[in-house]
């Protein structure tokens, strides 16, 4: 995508985000980009069935920044994995940009992940043998459109990584590693960015920096984002907060 097209996307998304109707679930003129219906995920532990998700129903609209909060073990990460196609739901439906993940094969979900989902993890999950540049470029390579130097430059400058690209993960600070992970996640312009406790391994300063970046991406580029967090201060960066308990969403409220 060239600079003009990229700017146009950013502008369109900005308008959508600024439209207050887009923040309201069920807004009449917007189709949700993520929709789950009666979503169950049951793990087998020996002879026991352990339900991690118990009939989750939720919607996320394009351009929304949604935080999911809840105690440990309530199913937040499992929900994120199922929405992102990393795990298969036991029952129920997940619609991601109109695609029903529950009907898809593993190969189909892999393809969907490649083209429509970006992940950011608590432990950064960078490939240790590649430098920062390689970690970002490999996402473009897997995406299949080849290396786009303009897009690469825009993203790395936006995330303040230009001077650190030749460093390997072990040579970067936690904050820098997470910024590389964010760059890798958004380099292919995914429909949705799924961030699983992205500040969990960062100090306060770096946490704030990462959260500001996520909000900036949402506000400037219209990047739809789902953020899993324990931290109410992190959740405050989102438009809306969903609370989970025992595998269910118990409420959905606008963030402060």
């Amino acid at each position: 995508m060239n600079r003009e097209a990229w700017s146009a996307v950013a502008e369109t998304a900005k308008i959508a985000v600024e439209d207050p109707r887009s923040l309201v679930p069920g807004a009449p003129d917007l189709e949700p980009i993520v929709k789950t219906e009666d979503l169950w995920k049951v793990y087998r532990s020996g002879a026991l069935d352990v339900p991690a998700l118990r009939g989750v129903a939720m919607e996320v609209l394009p351009g929304e920044f949604v935080a999911i909060m809840g105690p440990s073990g309530c199913g937040k990460s499992t929900l994120l994995h199922v929405i992102g196609g990393l795990a298969q739901a036991t029952r129920g439906r997940v619609l991601l940009d109109g695609n029903d993940l529950s009907e898809m094969t593993d190969a189909g979900r892999t393809k969907l992940r490649r083209h429509k989902v970006g992940f950011v993890f608590q432990r950064f999950n960078l490939l240790p043998t590649l430098d920062a540049r390689g970690n970002i470029a490999i996402a473009q390579h897997i995406h299949g459109d080849g290396f786009d130097p303009h897009r690469f430059d825009v993203v790395t400058h936006m995330l303040g990584l230009a001077g650190r690209l030749r460093h390997r993960p072990a040579e970067l600070s936690g904050g820098e590693q997470q910024r590389v992970a964010i760059a890798r996640a958004i380099i292919n312009e995914p429909k949705i960015l799924l961030a699983d406790e992205p500040t969990g391994n960062l100090d306060t300063k770096n946490s704030e920096s990462v959260l500001h970046m996520l909000r900036q991406l949402n506000q400037q580029l219209g990047q739809t984002t789902i953020l899993i967090t324990h931290n109410p201060e992190a959740a405050a960066f989102a438009h809306r907060v969903l609370h989970m308990r025992d595998g269910q969403i118990v409420d959905s409220i606008p963030a402060d």
Binding site: L86, T110, K111, R113, R114, F119, N125, L126, L130, I142
Partner: protein, 366 residues
Amino acid sequence: MIGELVWRNTLHRPLRTLVSIVAVGVEVSLILLIVGLTHGMLREVAKRIEGVGADIMVQPPSASMFLAFSGAPMPVSIGARIADLPHVKAVAPVLVQLSSSGGLDVVYGIDPSSFDAVSNGFVYLQGHRLESPDDVLVDDWYARARNLKAGDTLHLLGHNFHVAGVVEHGKGARVFVQLKTLAQLTGSPDKAALFYVKCDVPGQTALVSKEIGQLLPRYQIRPIREFLSLMTATNVPGLNTFVRSMIALAAAIGFLVIFLSMYTTIIERTRDIGILKSLGASKAYIVRALLGETALVCAAGIVTGILMSYGASLLMRELFPTLTILITPGWILRAMGLAIGAGLAGATYPAWLASRKDPVEALAYE
């Protein structure tokens, strides 16, 4: 990009990579050296027999093509009857004996005059022809291997011989003694294991062979060219099986080392595989990355193996001058194919396992 990933991953564990490369190198060099030694020795023996300059070889019925394994059941007097046939220029009776003192060597017992008549004589680098019963001639390779020169004493077949001369290699054997002396030492008086026959015109070989066949029915009468064509590993009982077993063993080494290396690699890189899956890498992409790494290791191993083979060949030539190792482009290509095949086969199962890893479990791997 996948090339960079493969390259970086290969360098990530240098010792493991080095061990894998050396293992593939050993596999390749084992194949090249065993095949090279087998083919080299056979070719060298064939060249020496060809170097005698005879046109026909006469052996008793049921004699082995391995001259040293044949007994000596033919009376030397048969030679005179062969010599009387039309178009026969010379006949040389030869007694063949295997000596195991200080290595396996074939000793020819010859009548110097008739052998010279067939072979046009030796090229003497030192000394003189066989004169006394205790004289021995050795070729230059044998002399170099045993550090011998004319005038030295050589203990052979339980007898002390006087080294009469050192001759240029390539005339049937490496060691020559008088026919009568060898006959006495082996208890085969007036017997010969074979006759080399020289025709007056080379084009008469078929005719002379036919005449000898009529004179000595059931004897083995072979034109030298036909005999040389039989000097292959296929015609040596058990040799092909031995060579194939060694090749299979070498390929098994390559297979097992690569299997183990890639298996430990995918366990160590479980989380990396999860990361690639989270980015949307297909199973084929992950298999390709791991097989690419294997191919790179195999390529480096092949180069190492070829260099090791030539190095070992040079070393063996210095240590054992009578050994010949023949490394041919054809067998280099076959060894390369076997190394790549065994390596990729060894990596296939680990790569398949990696491609099937559950991404969530892989990402949680410590």
